[in-house]
Symmetry: C2
Subunit: 202 residues, 2 copies
């Protein structure tokens, strides 16, 4: 092969990035070495710094550099309302929507017994501590609408019930601004069967 070994190793290492195939990896490696060696150095250092410095919040498992993440450490948030999500990316998406002033709990996965992912792996003991500790007024379950996400939601609802904490599920249906003809059949049939009264009080 034509490229020197270290360049080939860089190509292989770039493949760990999601969505990067051999062609993109080559384009990236050649670009960095040819035109942006400073950027490559910064990237190498930033990776190391993040690996060393970024851990998990000990309350909600969100990425954090100190014991608590910014949300858990904030006095401006309502810590009596906890939204349970699967991944840190979900937290980022909800924060960007600016529609939630409560706290979070990040499962870092979802129940999937066949893959060996049980309650331990998704941090249930930590969540249970928080449910048992009192002060929680609502557990909002925002796991994904997949078979495993729904199973996880059912498991979480039962857990909340045992601790007498009301559990809710985020609404599913036709997206805002969504044209009916482009909405998939599953979403549409759920939206129809889960229709709500327009009378008012709900």
């Amino acid at each position: 092969m034509l490229l020197p070994p270290r360049l080939q190793q860089l190509l292989a290492a770039l493949r760990c990035l999601p969505g990067i195939g051999p062609k993109s990896a080559q384009r990236m490696a050649l670009h960095l070495l040819e035109r942006d060696r400073d950027g490559a150095e910064r990237l190498s250092a930033a990776l190391l710094a993040a690996l060393e410095g970024v851990g998990s919040c000990r309350r909600c498992r969100m990425f954090a550099e100190s014991e608590l993440c910014t949300v858990c450490a904030s006095g401006a948030r309502d810590h009596g309302m906890v939204c349970v999500v699967e991944t840190p990316a979900d937290v980022v998406a909800i924060e960007e929507s600016a529609g939630w002033r409560g706290a979070y709990f990040v499962l870092l996965g979802r129940l999937s017994p066949l893959d060996g992912v049980g309650p331990e792996e998704i941090g249930i003991p930590l969540l249970e501590e928080r449910l048992a500790g009192g002060g929680l007024r609502e557990l909002v379950i925002a796991t994904s609408v997949t078979v495993e996400g729904e199973a996880t939601a059912a498991f979480l609802a039962a857990l909340a019930r045992r601790h007498s904490v009301p559990a809710t599920r985020i609404a599913h249906g036709v997206p805002m601004g969504g044209e009916l003809e482009f909405v998939d059949a599953g979403t549409l049939s759920h939206a129809l069967s889960a229709r709500v009264s327009m009378a008012g009080d709900r």
Copy 2:
């Protein structure tokens, strides 16, 4: 902002990769920290190793870990035929086509006086040394078909002429397997005006 500072720095550093916007950078950073910390560590090390270990071949300016690149060091190549290209990616593409058994010269750019890229910047003194050294039977010019690429090609042809080395330009025209209706107008009109006789000896 929600994400811890080092994670944000990683997001910013990932933007130095070509084609990576804020959304992809976030997906990459969260993926690495959540699911592939080993991969991130390997990537960081591979970047550093490549930066430190990969330099330029002192004969053709291709990436190399030692003084000479694999092509220049090879005894199986015809060093009397030199193909001039703009970037290392061009060398990789030609090698993959397996249609060239000569050597290369990589300009690492193309003449662009307005951007301050003159003959010095594209390694012309090094190429001239090779032209003057004798033993070159042909200079194949494979710069891109852009205004600057063509200007560079004309400059290289004049240079070769001064050293009495025959210069050729790679053929341009309709791609093999290309349907005429999908070929752009510029390529098509060039292909028509540069038509070759089918009689035989070209």
